[in-house]
């Protein structure tokens, strides 16, 4: 049988980089082919070529055995290739129907939109593939998982046969991700074919029929999920042995480093984002704050680090009231902050690495003598940290913006962890990073914990929370639903809490389920 899609010898060069190096890829009808690779491995470039956004320098594409010249996304869509982007392309104030119709409008005579007919089609599609969605809801009222379904419906509405999912689980809760996998399975059962781009190892093992690993623009190999395990895939991705399980000693909690009492914080729109939260973090332990993006974690971190005004409640650092302190004072109290958005808050991208490495301490000796910056010291410091933290950069005066995401994050980590600190606030410290960098940053955080630093870790990645934390607090709509020791936490339990299910009910549900399956 001819494969539905075949890429032969696709090569794409960017100035100085070989993004895709003679890539061969075959997609069989009705299968899920996972494309696994670190960030910058060339997965996205390859898919953009397939989608007509880039022109390959060499190589050919065949769809159903026919050569296929693609010049724009509309060519791709016309040949039944559709892409679910990581960031949804939906208009929040339009209904599901309107969003699905957009660009492919069904018209009544006289040029009026035929919403009814389109809605009917959407209902058909959703029953056929198990994509539950109400065509008349407004996008802005829908949870992220449902919005993603709308994206999928958009493609099916245009009769796509080959669906490309680009990191689809990045924005989902574990439960939503599981639902997505069911949908993917249901799609392939009915003859659709899927390319699934990800860097999450567990997901591909769960869902893929074939896994192709890409590293530095080259296909490293294809394996069947039954023949692979996580560490094998990880070492294929990174090109060396990777320790997936973080080895860590039991925590030895000491005195309280950070205490938050009844904290109330509002967001930019003056809506309550953090709603009366209290917790403590002790020296030598990691408190993980889990939760789906947008449940007040951002505002919590900003309030604790002095970047956002506190409306009510108190914050204590080492038992001193620091409630309305500035970020500068926060730093001077021996605290470090790895911000959630490294490019927005954490770095000045056009500045060289060495300047970014002194962003918080530029005014202190040895970097400044009075008002004069001692550039020799700054350069020495940078050269040392680049070595110590393995920041891959041509030199210390290379601008931070030209580094890869992982190395940008290492610059921040190096800067924040190279000072003597009592408290580390790490928000999404590994978002969007590759396995190698994640491994490194995790080990650094645990090293600090073992040296007696209190760590407040905020992450939407459940794996990360479970691996690093000693205690886990789950945030939902600005409140902490529960704080549980990691030993008692399971992925399922945290997942339910993240979806807003109260602790008792969640435990009950899990128990019932296990009784059921037994």
């Amino acid at each position: 049988m001819t494969p539905v899609l075949e890429l032969r010898g696709i090569t794409k060069r960017f100035p100085g980089v070989l993004a895709n190096d003679h890539i061969h890829l075959t997609l069989e009808q009705g299968s899920i082919h996972a494309l696994l690779g670190e960030n910058g491995a060339g997965k996205t470039t390859l898919m953009n070529i397939l989608y007509g956004l880039y022109k390959p320098d060499e190589g050919e594409i065949f769809v159903n055995g026919q050569p296929f010249e693609v010049h724009s996304p509309s060519d791709a869509i016309a040949r039944g290739i559709g892409m679910v982007h990581q960031h949804f392309m939906l208009i929040p104030v339009f209904t599901v129907t309107e969003n699905v119709m957009l660009g492919d409008e069904t018209l009544k005579p006289g040029g009026f939109l035929d919403r009814e007919k389109a809605a009917q089609r959407i209902r058909e599609i959703s029953t056929q593939y198990g994509l539950e969605v109400n065509p008349d809801s407004y996008i802005k009222d829908l949870p992220v998982g449902v919005q993603q379904r709308v994206e999928i419906i958009k493609l099916l509405y245009r009769n796509a046969n080959i669906l490309i999912f680009d990191e689809p689980t990045a924005v989902l809760t574990p439960q939503e991700a599981d639902e997505l996998f069911e949908i993917m399975q249901s799609l392939t059962r009915q003859g659709k074919s899927i390319i699934f781009i990800t860097h999450k190892l567990r997901e591909v093992l769960d869902v893929a029929d074939l896994i192709t690993v890409i590293r530095r623009g080259k296909v490293i190999g294809s394996v069947l999920p039954s023949e692979a395990d996580q560490s094998k895939l990880a070492s294929m991705m990174v090109g060396r042995e990777v320790k997936l399980e973080l080895e860590k000693a039991p925590a030895r909690p000491d005195k309280t480093a950070l205490r938050v009492e009844n904290l109330l914080v509002t967001d930019d729109a003056r809506q309550v984002a953090v709603d009366g939260i209290s917790f403590e973090v002790h020296e030598g332990e990691v408190l993980g704050i889990a939760g789906v993006q947008g449940n007040g974690q951002t505002e919590l971190v900003e309030a604790v680090t002095g970047m956002r005004d506190v409306d009510e409640g108190k914050i204590f650092l080492l038992e001193e009231d620091v409630t309305h302190l500035s970020p500068r004072k926060f730093t001077e109290y021996g605290s470090a902050h790895i911000p959630e958005d490294r490019q927005r808050d954490g770095l000045v991208l056009p500045f060289p690495v060495m300047e970014n490495l002194i962003l918080c301490t530029y005014y202190l000796p040895p970097f400044a003598k009075g008002p004069v910056i001692q550039w020799e010291r700054v350069l020495e410091n940078a050269d040392r940290l680049v070595q110590e933290y393995d920041i891959r950069t041509p030199s210390s005066i290379t601008s931070a913006g030209s580094l890869s995401g992982g190395n940008q994050q290492k610059v921040i980590v190096a800067r924040e962890l190279s000072r003597p600190i009592h408290l580390l606030v790490a928000a999404q410290p590994t978002r969007g990073l590759d396995v190698g960098s994640i491994e490194y940053i995790h080990s650094q955080i645990i090293k600090r914990r073992d040296n007696g630093v209190a760590v407040l870790l905020v992450s939407t990645e459940l794996d990360e929370i479970l691996q690093l934390s000693d205690r886990i607090a789950v945030m939902y709509r600005g409140k902490i639903l529960a704080t549980i020791p990691t030993e008692e936490a399971s992925k399922e339990l945290i997942g339910l809490l993240m979806a807003g299910v109260p602790l008792e009910d969640a435990r009950q549900q899990i128990q019932n389920k296990s009784v059921y399956s037994a």
């Binding site: 970020p327 808050d345 962003l359 530029y362």
Partner: protein, 430 residues
């Protein structure tokens, strides 16, 4: 490394300097192409000037009656007339800007002081014209580095000129060593005050500095009109001019009249170095540049964003004020209406042309000053309207502001990342 620190340090610092010079405060390209970037930083302005001169020649040809008359007679005569007018014009531009080489050599051979000075005067006069450009260009560049778009340099020049003039004629009995610095300081403070207001408004209320500096310009123009027809009017004159500044407040000239070359040029160079030092060597400058490039990161790093915005606008105003003081104390010795002839607006272009780097601004200012000075001569000896020079400058600037045009014309390869331009970010506001 430690055995020979001098040797290992130096290339590093030269590289750092280049980085500062080429770093426009924007998303950088792939650094492997750093060399190409530096090359283009020099190449593009150069090609822009050449292209500007070519287009200028076309304008000259199109606006000259003799050319039309020549073409009326025959095609050859028309071409000859075109060549004639363009070559006379540009020769005049050159001699007006730099002096006549033949005359210079002759003067050096005779060895008479007067002859030598006269021969070299056009060149010195170009430096005189460049001086206010340097001050004002630095003003705008410093603002850009801090992320504020100071369109108000023109108004700040006026206010600086007013305060410098006032101190220059009303404070009496001081020796030059005190009076002159005092008058310069007054100019700087006047400009600083005029920059402080929109800076404060931006930092505290979010009022956009572009709007507010434009409005401050109008206030400054009318304020100077009012003062020159009222309180500051010279009692014995019918014209709206101020009393003459006392000679103790003059910027000393190095040669007897009519050569106007004065100390202001060297002060401008000194200030340019000072601005460079401030921006790139001090913690204050580091804060300013951080605030200007990424205010969020500045806040994260514990810097006071509002204070730095106000400070940047005030310093920018002070530099522009010095441009005004320089013109009064060094060249005119009086304040007259509309004396500035748009230095403040040209300075925006200068900052852009100079990549917001003091060295770049000085070079751009020398180019502008030279062109403008040469234009005067071109007008006199070739009968070409001085406006042609404005057209020329505009064309050069358009090419520099939009390097894509030059790249397209000369088929240069674009850097990895297309420049967004710091101005765009600043227009976006807070």
């Amino acid at each position: 490394m430690t055995t020979n620190p001098e040797k290992s340090k130096k290339p590093g610092f030269w590289k750092i300097f280049l980085e500062e010079l080429t770093n426009r405060g924007k998303q950088p390209g792939d650094d492997k192409k750093g060399k190409g970037r530096i090359g283009q930083i020099i190449l593009i302005p150069l090609l822009a000037v050449v292209t500007g001169l070519i287009l200028g020649a076309i304008f000259i040809v199109l606006t000259t009656e003799e050319v039309y008359a020549g073409f009326g007679r025959s095609f050859g005569a028309g071409l000859a007339a075109s060549w004639d007018i363009v070559s006379t014009s540009y020769a005049a531009l050159f001699t007006g800007a730099f002096g006549n080489p033949a005359r210079m050599i002759a003067a050096l051979q005779t060895g008479t002081d007067l002859e030598i000075r006269r021969a070299f005067n056009p060149f010195l006069e170009s430096l005189v014209t460049s001086t206010p450009y340097i001050f004002a260009g630095l003003a705008v560049a410093l603002g850009f580095r801090a992320g504020v778009f100071n369109i108000g340099a023109e108004g700040q020049i006026f206010v600086g000129a007013i305060t410098a003039t006032f101190v220059g004629y009303s404070v009496t009995g001081l020796p030059a060593i005190i009076h002159l610095p005092l008058a310069l300081l007054a100019g700087a403070l006047g400009g600083a005050a005029w920059g402080y207001i929109p800076g404060w408004l931006k930092a505290k209320t979010g009022g956009h500095e572009v709007i507010n500096t434009i409005m401050m310009n109008y206030i400054a123009f009318r304020l100077s009109d009012f003062l020159l027809t009222g309180p500051m009017k010279r009692p014995d004159s019918f014209n709206p001019v101020s009393p003459e500044v006392l000679s103790t407040a003059w910027l000393p000239r190095f040669f007897p009249d009519p050569i106007r070359f004065h100390l202001g040029f060297f002060i401008a160079l000194g200030i340019a170095y000072l601005v460079y030092w401030y921006l790139f060597k001090t913690t204050w400058g580091f804060e300013l540049r951080t605030v200007g490039t990424n205010p969020n990161a500045a806040k994260y790093a514990g810097m006071n964003v509002t204070r730095n915005i106000i400070l940047a606008m005030s310093l920018s105003g002070a530099l522009a004020g010095l441009a005004g003081a320089n013109e009064v104390l060094g060249v005119n010795h009086i304040l007259a209406m509309a004396f500035s002839s748009g230095y403040g607006f040209d300075s925006i272009a200068l900052a852009l042309l100079g990549n917001n780097h003091p060295l770049g601004v000085v070079l751009a200012s020398l180019l502008f000053g030279t062109l403008r000075n040469g234009a005067t001569r071109m007008q006199l000896s070739a009968g070409i309207p001085i406006d042609i020079i404005s057209v020329l400058q505009a064309v050069i600037l358009a090419f520099i502001a939009a390097p894509a045009i030059i790249r397209t014309i000369y088929r240069l390869r674009a850097p990895a990342v297309e420049e967004g331009g710091i101005t765009i970010r600043s227009w976006g506001g807070n």
